[in-house]
Symmetry: C2
Subunit: 683 residues, 2 copies
């Protein structure tokens, strides 16, 4: 969140860390007045933040405040906490609470970096209280469910419910409204929650949050007293009155939460207790701000208002940036570690998973396959801003999956498919950042709001192709999906043609069908894409194009009946045959891909079997086509194709798949079993 | 280092952390005797390591020992240090010393992970004292020179010099000899060095090493006294006598350093002071060992005897592994951060670099190019075990560079080129680990000891192609080099043929020449490589092969004169012409590539200009050929080729290159300048 509001003595900047004690109560510390004129503590030379009343007028220095009670009732030795790098930590295994307001795609990405830094240093169980809009909730619920971090609880609260309490404050800024929610957080958090640390999304921890929590402990035992006083002081009335008064004298059109906090503090300077400045270290050219932390032994929290500051030529910029980048690219899977020496707090799903993994036989030749099948990948849906397509009855989402080595396909794909897409990307955390930069640098990709990118984080040696497909499929928001692969470029007209075909064929109401898009391939790098079926047929005849896998795996597409397709003027029905794996258009609620097929081989074949078993008609469209472009074999594929174990395991997977088919479809599945032959090549 | 030696009461395990105070002196702490029978301190329930005399007999628990002086003279409150999670830290900015013994390729990789974890948590200047063999020294000198970490000093010591002092001890294990060096380290470290922490290469820090250093501070002021006593006790004689005596009664054929330490300790139990066990946390199924740390608030150091333990089904395995993996894949560039609040300790090279970077104009359209040119990439030479080729007068090393997306070329390249190779790989730290696994999983690659892989760590947006080539070139150890590109496969016979040609042409003595290997390309994926010139010509005639870049950039290879080559029976000389960029064989001491050419374009052209300016004859070999395989354009190339800024900057680079040429070669360079035309396409 960027500073906004009028320039004023107290600064327009965000309060970084706000310690809420049940409800708010502000209290000053008389010791804070005993400062040297330079704003530093006079005694031990220990770094101090200037007190709130002395915050410099340039608005650059943001006072992070610990709000607490009557200093006489429960005195907090401020010097000690500022100077002593090792305050007493909270009891081992005590649950610490953190609240964060988060809305939209970009904030959701930010908050994950914050949470990674929290988890990296934490040694206590944590509970996150996330106040979110619908977008952030959807993203973060999926993320935390699949992340399965032990000893991490997450609760969601509807930001919508808080809006009425603050929407009367003039605010022209979307994120500003969410910023203001910090004023009314106590109203939404559980009444039984006594203490919570409220964080902005753009901070990075460089230490254990327990040390921050420990600042509560300095006045433990008097919290109830403070709660009483909180009610006496009446925070809710206090901030509202202040805000209303400010609005009367204010020419500006909006107030930020910081402005209101600062205004209250200005009126009641005796009620504020600044945090040691190491808890709010910001990139600043302001000497005084720098003074505040440059002699500290330790930085606890780094406040990045914007990663764009990377470019600032501040001598500490490198230091700041490196902490931020550390957690930006940090492998979140590594944070799935149990707390040491605390009672196990594994989630039921995680426990079940661990049991299943423990039952695997490590001596089994297919151990890696079985392990990969069981792996729950961390999933970050709609990693980049995305606008859901408007509801249209025949709309189609192109569904595909890819890893880093196919990123260069995306621009061409966008040119060929003007409709919605749902793409699953199999990436490391660091690669996800590279991907982000790749999209930002591409005008073609940046311009598309209807392409949803879902990051599935890498884990394990085998490419989880069908799990990826299922993630992309689950996030498709149109009634139909085109199940494609990333190295195919559809005919320019395909999107429009498919929608027209769905309408004409009355698929929605009348027929349960899968529309087959015939697949071709070129072995050439430089290649002019045919703009019509006629052009395609000419290329086919001249040997510049082939039907897909004509040389190595003709049975994969033979049932499409290319000879008939050449002449066809209308859709025609084809019959399933062994090893058939066409690219199809189906309703969004079609069967999922079988996640047991990891690595490369038979993953689409099994899905087509499933469609056939569920009695989908297979209808080939006469004007549809898609063309496979050449590429070097991926690392994953070359690593496993050469291995005989790989082939044996694939065979085992097939057999298990057919056993399951028989179980589910009974005698009707017999034809698949009898069709099962020794594979000539994995699909 | 794995445990070895006889099973014995004191365990055959390594002493993990050895605190050396100038010289050695062992001293016991009487408080350590006041333990409950379960080996824990009786008072505060704080975790304690069993004392050395009580080390269980299974040898699993390794006592990490702090060796110090007369407990009466300078008492160290052991309970406090074990229980207080926050011992007093050393003075801010105090220089801490660490000694590590490191030999060979694999230990060099290990030590880097250790150093990353040290640097991540450290807040003090550090000095590393590295006792190395020639291999490790070569690797680590290059690494630290290019890493340029502020406030990190590194000294190297020849392990060879220490060998005579320990080689009398029977030892059949190469690394064992290096293990024994810890016994005699004080003899090689500077006499003025008062304190040093000695670390094994297979540990990972999970906290600031200053906390470990702080354990010295508990008896500060009495160190000189201890030094006196150290000399009185006579450590050097003590361990030698013990070792000799052990050998008399010993059936085994070798002694490890741990055996000797343990034997001395056994004889003088009153002289040992165990470290709090959090400083040596090991993966163990042994209840007692686990007890030692499972209730600790904090783990300080994790001791990985071998990453293979990843597979162990210990309930803490995940925790251990994740710490290790954190630093294994951590971007070492992020550790180039200045210490906060300490006087700047930037290295002169780094300062010069920073000045140069600061002088760049951020508004310059070519800012990214200039920044990339100045970037000093961290370099890890011979990342994997490598056996230098035996000296042979006409031997040739294939030199090339690649990034992750070309890894799948390596196996084919190994099949085509049976001779030595020097390859620079442009990778992130995490990718370097993927690369390691890739090689380990490939029988073809694992079998080759004559391929040297040099990791150049990624930094910046442009591919530093010529810097990579220079790294690979500098590490070639044969008299000649074949300067190739990774997407070319040489004729199967090329290695032998080139050596024979060099001999016949008497290149070494008579002629200053560059041998041109004619280049071809296929646009097809599936392609049978020609086994002779005759087969190649047949493919050329049938349109399955082309001369390289025949369609887009014919001038790049036109001077090779393919028509003449068809008929040639003997090497023939050709003349330089504009944009010529053949693949050549030259002496190892040939001119370096111009590092100003970053990204893609004109990088080889400039090198050939340089060769011509230095009057290398260009001799085309009649039987030599190499073939370019198709591949998707790399991300780097597609990102920049489309940009007009890229082309403008490339043009600016060319002009600057020609200005430099004129400066260096005077009138002789005029022909290059006149030949410089507007580029039709970047090379």
């Amino acid at each position: 969140m960027l500073p906004r509001g009028r320039p004023r003595a107290l600064g327009a900047a965000a309060l970084l860390l706000l310690l809420l004690i049940g409800f708010f109560l502000l209290g000053g510390d008389p010791e804070c007045e005993r400062l040297e004129p330079d704003g530093r503590a006079g005694d031990l030379g220990c770094p101090r933040c200037p007190l709130t009343p002395r915050v410099p007028s340039d608005g650059r220095l943001r006072g992070a405040s610990a709000l607490h009670g009557d200093p006489l009732a429960g005195h907090w030795d401020h010097n000690r906490s500022a100077c002593d790098p090792w305050p007493q930590l909270p009891p081992k295994c005590e649950l610490l609470h953190v609240a964060i307001v988060c809305a939209g795609h970009n904030s959701s990405r930010e908050v994950i970096t914050l949470v990674k830094s929290l988890l990296f240093y934490r040694k206590n169980p944590l509970h996150l209280h996330l106040v979110t809009d619908a977008v952030a909730r959807n993203i973060l619920e999926t993320l935390f469910r699949t992340w399965m971090v032990p000893a991490l609880g997450v609760s969601f609260y509807h930001a919508e419910q808080l809006k009425p309490q603050i929407s009367w404050i003039p605010n022209k800024h979307y994120s500003g409204l969410y910023g203001l929610m910090k004023l009314v957080l106590p109203g939404i958090l559980p009444p039984g929650l006594a203490r919570v640390i409220v964080l902005d999304t753009d901070v990075t921890f460089a230490s254990d949050i327990a040390e921050l929590w420990a600042l509560f402990a300095h006045f433990s035992g008097v919290i109830l007293l403070w709660l009483d006083r909180l009610r006496q002081v009446g925070w809710e009335q206090m901030w509202k009155l202040t805000a209303q008064r400010e609005l009367l004298t204010l020419a500006a059109t909006s107030l930020a939460d910081q402005d209101i906090f600062n205004a209250v503090i200005k009126e009641h300077p005796e009620l504020v207790q600044p945090l040691p400045c190491v808890w709010n270290v910001q990139l600043s050219d302001h000497t005084r701000a720098e003074h505040c932390y440059s002699e500290a032994a330790d930085l606890k929290v780094i406040h990045w208002n914007s990663p764009k500051k990377v470019r600032v030529k501040n001598k500490h910029a490198g230091f700041f940036r490196n902490f931020y980048l550390t957690f930006l690219g940090y492998d979140g899977n590594l944070l799935r570690r149990e707390l040491f020496g605390c009672p196990s707090q594994t989630l039921p799903e995680a426990e079940q998973l661990q049991r299943a993994l423990a039952q695997l036989d490590e001596e089994d030749a297919c151990f890696e396959f079985r392990q990969q099948q069981l792996t729950v990948h961390r999933v970050h849906i709609t990693f980049l801003p995305h606008k859901p397509p408007p509801p249209r009855p025949h709309d189609i989402t192109l569904v595909a999956q890819l890893s880093m080595d196919r990123l260069q396909m995306l621009e061409a794909l966008c040119r060929h498919w003007p409709g919605p897409m749902s793409l699953a990307l199999y990436l490391t955390d660091a690669e996800a950042q590279q991907f982000l930069h790749f999209v930002e640098a591409s005008p073609v990709l940046s311009a598309r709001q209807d392409v949803a990118y879902h990051v599935v984080y890498r884990e394990g040696p085998l490419y989880p192709v069908n799990q990826l497909r299922n993630v992309a499929l689950a996030q498709a928001l149109t009634p139909y999906v085109f199940l494609s692969d990333i190295d195919f470029l559809p005919a320019y007209s395909l999107y429009d043609y498919l929608r027209a075909s769905i309408e004409q064929l009355e698929l929605g109401s009348r027929r349960k069908a899968a529309l087959v898009v015939p697949a071709f391939e070129t072995l050439r790098y430089r290649f002019t894409f045919p703009s019509s079926k006629a052009e395609l047929l000419a290329l086919l005849d001249s040997g510049l194009l082939y039907t897909f896998r004509y040389h190595e795996w003709p049975q994969g597409h033979a049932p499409t009946d290319y000879a008939r397709w050449r002449e066809a003027q209308a859709p025609y029905r084809v019959q399933w045959a062994a090893d058939y794996e066409p690219y199809v258009v189906v309703p969004r609620d079609c069967p999922r891909y079988d996640p047991r097929f990891v690595g490369f081989g038979w993953n689409k074949v099994a899905h087509i079997v499933e469609l056939d078993a569920q009695e989908f008609e297979l209808l080939v469209l006469p004007e549809a086509f898609t063309i496979h472009l050449p590429h070097a074999p991926s690392l994953d594929i070359s690593r496993f194709r050469s291995s005989s174990t790989y082939r044996d395991c694939l065979q085992a997977l097939k057999e298990e798949f057919h056993q399951d088919l028989s179980r589910r479809y009974g005698a009707a599945a017999l034809k698949y079993l009898t069709a099962l032959q020794q594979p000539r090549s994995p699909a």
